[in-house]
C-alpha cells in the first residue's frame, strides 16, 4: 500500500474524519464540501483524495418507499406514554414524532420551520404572536385540524391536573385567542423572540380539542398507532393521509427500548434492529469494524457537570468554585472519557452549536497553580470535600469525578467520591448536597436553558446561584429581536456564569447513535439523540 494511502487509512480513524465520512457517505454533504472540510482540518489534497476514494457515496439520494424499521432507544418502562405533556425521554419523543406534529419544527440549525403552522408573525416587541395554520390537515381519526385544536393543545400544559412537565414553557402566555378557523393568536406576558422555537419542542404537539384519552395517539403525524404496550413496544403504520407531500417513506415502524447498552449494540450488529440511540463511546471501534453499520455522531450541547451549591458551605466560596474549575483538564477529559466525541466547555451551558454561543470567550485552561492559589484564598488548603456522583447523573459522571479526585490530590485537596445509587438520586442527592454531579440535555434556545436552570428563582437552579445582573440580562435578551444585540447580551450572561456561577462544565458531549448502512435520509439535529427523534418523517430503508 502506498505511503499516502497508509496515511489516509490512519487519518480515517480519527473521529472528526470519521464523522465527515459519515456525512459524505449518506449524501448529507457534497463531495466538494467534504474535500474542503478535510482541507480545513489540515489534510493535503492528495491524501484527501485517498480518503474520498475510500468512501463510496450513496449513488442516488432519492428516497425509496416501503420497509419496516425496527429501532430501539435505551431506557423504557411501564410509564411509557402517548400524552405529549408527559414526554420526557427518547422512548417517548420517538413516538411523539411518529404520531404527532407541532405548530413548528426545529431544524438542524436550531431554527423554527413551519410544521402545522405555515407562517407566523409578531409585533415589534415580540409579545403578540399570530400563527396561520395549514389548511386541509386531518387527524388520524378524520377530524380536520383547526385553531381550536391548536389552542387547546398548547393551553393544556397550564392545567395543573394535566401535570405537564413543560408547564414552564407556556407560563408566559397571558391569553390565547382563536381568531378564525385557521388562525390562532398568543398574547404573551413578557416579550419572547424565541416563541416559535418553543412551539417546536417535544411536548408542544397538537391534539384534537378536549382530548383526555391518548391511548390511540390522536395526532396528525406521519404514522398511525397500531399497537402500544408500555414498557414493551409500539407498532406504527404509515399514515397515507399525511399532509406532507411524498412522506413518510417507511411502511411500518416497530419502536421499543433495550435498556442494557450491550444488548442494544448486539441487536444492531446482529441485524435485529436497524437503528439505535445512545451508543457507548467505548463501543465505537466495535461498530466501525462492521461494514453493515455506522456510527452517527451529532455535535450537541448536552453536558455532564459538577454542581457546587452557592448557598451553603463549603461551596458558597467562589474561590473554591474557581479552584475546582481550574482543576478541569478539559482536553484530557474529552479525549479519555468521551473518546474525542465532544467539544470543549467553558463552565457555562451554551454550546458552540447554539447560535448565541459566545465564541470570544477564551476556554478556561487547566491550571493547577491557579487552582492552588484560589484554594488558599478559600482557606481550604489540605481540606477535604465530598462529591456525590452516580451513573444516572450523566454520561461519564463517575469518570469525571474520579479524574477530579486525582487532579485535586496534586494540589493538596482531598476529594471524597461518593457513588450514590441511581434510584432516587434526583430526589435525595441533586440539589440537596453541596457538591454533586448532574447532566443536562441542551434546550432549543439559549434563553430557555438559562431561564430553566440559572435565573435566581428557577426551580432547576441546581447551584442556587443568584445574580441580579444575570436576571436583568435575560429579560433584555428575551425582548430584543436584534440578533447582534442579543449575542452581546448572552455573551455577558455566559461570562457571568463562567466566572461566578456554581457549575463546572468541562466539555459538551456529542450524541452518539448507530444505525445500519441501509438507513438513509437521517438528519442530525443537535437537540437530542437520534436527530432529536425527527427521523420518522425523513428516513428510508435502502436495499
Amino acid at each position: 500500500m502506498s505511503e499516502k494511502k497508509k496515511i489516509a487509512r490512519e487519518l480515517e480513524r480519527s473521529s472528526d474524519i470519521a464523522s465527515l465520512k459519515v456525512l459524505y457517505r449518506s449524501a448529507s454533504i457534497s463531495r466538494r464540501a467534504f474535500v474542503s472540510r478535510l482541507a480545513a482540518l489540515g489534510i493535503s489534497t492528495s491524501i484527501a483524495g485517498f480518503i474520498v476514494a475510500g468512501s463510496p457515496v450513496a449513488v442516488a439520494a432519492t428516497p425509496k418507499r416501503g420497509g419496516r424499521m425496527r429501532a430501539a432507544a435505551g431506557a423504557h418502562g411501564p410509564d411509557d406514554t402517548l400524552d405529549p405533556a408527559r414526554f420526557n425521554s427518547v422512548i417517548n419523543y420517538g413516538r411523539g414524532e411518529q404520531f404527532y406534529n407541532g405548530l413548528t419544527r426545529i431544524d438542524e440549525s436550531l431554527v423554527a420551520q413551519p410544521d402545522l403552522a405555515e407562517s407566523w408573525e409578531t409585533n415589534a416587541n415580540a409579545t403578540d404572536w399570530v400563527f396561520k395554520l395549514r389548511k386541509g390537515v386531518e387527524f388520524h381519526n378524520g377530524k380536520s385540524l383547526d385553531a381550536e385544536d391548536a389552542l387547546y393543545s398548547i393551553e393544556r400544559h397550564l392545567d395543573k391536573n394535566v401535570g405537564s412537565g413543560a408547564k414552564a414553557f407556556v407560563e408566559n402566555i397571558a391569553e390565547g385567542i382563536v381568531e378564525d378557523k385557521h388562525t390562532v393568536r398568543f398574547k404573551l406576558k413578557g416579550p419572547d423572540a424565541d416563541f416559535p422555537v418553543i412551539m417546536g419542542t417535544y411536548q408542544m404537539k397538537i391534539v384534537p380539542v378536549r382530548t383526555r384519552d391518548f391511548s390511540k395517539a390522536p395526532g396528525t403525524g406521519p404514522f398511525k398507532l397500531m399497537e402500544f404496550k408500555p414498557g414493551v413496544r409500539s407498532l406504527a403504520h404509515r399514515n397515507d393521509n399525511y399532509w406532507e407531500e411524498g412522506r413518510p417513506y417507511l411502511d411500518e415502524i416497530e419502536w421499543f427500548g433495550i435498556s442494557d447498552h450491550n444488548a442494544r449494540m448486539n441487536a444492531l450488529l446482529a441485524g435485529d434492529i436497524s437503528m439505535m440511540s445512545g451508543l457507548d463511546p467505548k463501543a465505537i471501534p466495535r461498530v466501525n469494524k462492521s461494514n453493515d453499520v455506522r456510527v452517527v455522531n451529532t455535535k450537541a450541547g448536552q453536558y455532564t457537570n459538577f454542581a457546587m451549591m452557592t448557598d451553603r458551605p463549603p461551596t458558597d466560596s467562589n474561590e473554591l468554585r474557581l479552584a475546582i474549575k481550574h482543576l478541569q483538564n478539559r482536553e484530557r477529559i474529552l479525549k479519555l472519557i468521551y473518546k474525542g466525541n465532544g467539544m470543549l466547555g467553558n463552565d457555562q451551558p451554551i454550546s458552540p452549536v447554539d447560535p448565541m454561543y459566545c465564541a470570544d470567550m477564551p476556554v478556561r485552561a487547566y491550571d493547577p497553580d491557579k487552582a492552588k492559589h484560589h484554594l488558599k484564598k478559600a482557606g481550604m488548603e489540605g481540606g477535604t470535600i465530598k462529591v456525590h456522583t452516580s451513573e444516572v447523573a450523566g454520561t461519564g459522571a463517575i469518570e469525571q469525578a474520579l479524574m477530579l479526585q486525582r487532579e485535586a490530590d496534586k494540589i493538596g485537596l482531598k476529594i471524597d467520591v461518593q457513588r450514590d445509587p441511581g434510584d432516587g438520586y434526583w430526589s435525595a442527592t441533586w440539589g440537596k448536597t453541596p457538591f454533586f454531579m448532574s447532566g443536562w440535555n441542551m434546550r432549543p434556545t439559549a434563553n430557555i436553558m438559562l431561564t430553566l436552570a440559572f435565573t435566581s428563582d428557577a426551580a432547576w437552579n441546581e447551584a442556587k446561584w443568584k445574580n441580579a445582573r444575570f436576571d436583568e440580562l435575560l429579560t433584555l435578551g428575551r425582548a430584543s429581536t436584534d440578533t447582534v444585540q442579543r449575542k452581546q447580551i448572552y455573551c455577558e450572561a455566559q461570562q457571568l456564569i463562567s466566572d461566578t456561577g456554581g457549575v463546572a462544565i468541562p466539555c459538551f458531549i456529542d450524541y452518539l447513535d448507530a444505525m445500519s448502512e441501509k438507513v438513509k435520509g437521517f438528519i442530525p439535529v443537535p437537540l437530542g439523540p437520534l436527530g432529536a427523534s425527527q427521523w420518522p418523517r425523513s428516513v428510508w430503508l435502502e436495499g
Binding site: 418502562g77 405537564s164 450491550n262 444488548a263 448486539n266 446482529a270 435485529d272 434492529i273 430526589s427 426551580a459
Partner: protein, 316 residues
C-alpha cells in the same frame, strides 16, 4: 393428608400477607416517589404535587396499604400509578411470557440435570462423574450475564444464526418460537442445571450409604438396578425441593436474562416498577412471585411425602 395441605396453604396465605407488608414498607422507605419518577428531570415541585394529588398519594401510608389490601381481597389488582393502566392487563402478557420461558427451560433443564446427576451417581469417581462435577462447578461459578453475552456474541453477532434479542410477542410458528427463545433458554438452563444435577448426585450417593443398599450390593444386585430401583425413590425429597426452588427462580428471578435479551417478562417488570416506585405494580409482582414459591415448595413437599410411605402415614 389433606390436613397437611390445608395447614400449609393457610401458612402460605399468612406468608403472603407478611410479604405484602414488608414490600410495601420497603418501597415506602426508598427516597422519591412515583410522581418524581414519572416526571424525571422535569419534576418541578408543582408538577409533582399535581400528580401526587391525582394519584391520591398524599394520604397516609397505612390508609393506602389498607385500600390496596381490600381491593386485592376483592380480586382487583388495581391500576398502575406510572402507566395509568389496569395492572391485570399489564401483567397478563408478561406473566404469559415468563411462564412460557420457564416451562420451556424446565422441560429442557430438569430431565437433563436429573440424567446427569444419576449418571454421575452410578459410578462415583468415574469419567462421567468427574465430567459432571467439573462442568457443573464451572457453570455455577460463571455469572449468568457472561454466559448470555458469550452466547449472543457467538450465535447472534458472528454466526447470525439466532436473534440477539427476543422481541416477538407473537410467534408465527413453533420454529420461530424455538429460534427466538433458544439463547435465553440455553442461558437459563446453564444457570439451573448445576444445582439440580449436583443435588441429585449428592442425594443418591447419600442414600447409597444406607444399610439396605449395602445389603443389596452384598446380594449382588447390579449397580444400575440398585440406583434406579432402590435408591432413587428415597432420594426424591431433597431433589424435588431443589427443582422447586429452581423453578420458582425461573419465574421470579431471571432479571439478568430478561435484560440482556430484552425479553418482556415479569422479573424486569418488577425491577422497573421498583425504580418508578409504582407501588401497586410492585405489590402485584411480589404477590405472584411469593405465591409461585409457596405453591412450588408445597408441591415439592407433597411429592416427597408421597415418595416416602413412612411420612404418608405419619401421626399428622
Amino acid at each position: 393428608m389433606w390436613l397437611v395441605v390445608l395447614r400449609r396453604l393457610g401458612m402460605g396465605v399468612v406468608t403472603l400477607w407478611v410479604v405484602s407488608v414488608l414490600v410495601f414498607a420497603g418501597t415506602e422507605i426508598l427516597p422519591g416517589d412515583v410522581a418524581e419518577a414519572i416526571l424525571g428531570q422535569s419534576a418541578t415541585p408543582e408538577a409533582v404535587a399535581a400528580i401526587r394529588e391525582q394519584l391520591n398519594l398524599d394520604r397516609p401510608a397505612v390508609v393506602r396499604y389498607m385500600d390496596w389490601l381490600t381491593n386485592l381481597l376483592r380480586g382487583d389488582l388495581g391500576i398502575s400509578l406510572a402507566a395509568n393502566l389496569p395492572i391485570s392487563e399489564m401483567i397478563s402478557g408478561r406473566l404469559k411470557n415468563t411462564l412460557i420461558l420457564a416451562a420451556l427451560t424446565a422441560a429442557l433443564a430438569v430431565p437433563l440435570s436429573l440424567a446427569m446427576g444419576l449418571a454421575a451417581a452410578m459410578f462415583p469417581g468415574g469419567r462421567i462423574d468427574r465430567f459432571v462435577t467439573v462442568s457443573t462447578l464451572f457453570l455455577l461459578s460463571v455469572p449468568e450475564f457472561f454466559i448470555a453475552a458469550t452466547l449472543v456474541l457467538i450465535f447472534a453477532v458472528h454466526l447470525q444464526w439466532l436473534p440477539a434479542i427476543t422481541y416477538a410477542t407473537e410467534y408465527d410458528s413453533v420454529w420461530q418460537l424455538a429460534k427466538s427463545l433458544a439463547l435465553p433458554i440455553l442461558t437459563l438452563t446453564t444457570s439451573v442445571i448445576a444445582h439440580m444435577a449436583r443435588m441429585t448426585r449428592a442425594a443418591i450417593l447419600n442414600v447409597m450409604t444406607s444399610p439396605y443398599v449395602e445389603m443389596a450390593i452384598l446380594k449382588g444386585v447390579p449397580r444400575r438396578r440398585i440406583v434406579l430401583r432402590h435408591a432413587l425413590l428415597n432420594a426424591v425429597g431433597p431433589v424435588v425441593n431443589v427443582v422447586a426452588l429452581n423453578l420458582a427462580y425461573l419465574i421470579g428471578g431471571v432479571t439478568i436474562v430478561e435484560t440482556v435479551f430484552a425479553y418482556p417478562g415479569l422479573a424486569r417488570l418488577m425491577v422497573d416498577a421498583v425504580s418508578r416506585r409504582d407501588m401497586p405494580l410492585v405489590q402485584a409482582c411480589a404477590m405472584i412471585f411469593c405465591s409461585a414459591y409457596i405453591l412450588l415448595i408445597l408441591i415439592a413437599d407433597l411429592l416427597a411425602i408421597f415418595a416416602n410411605p413412612r411420612l404418608r402415614h405419619s401421626k399428622q
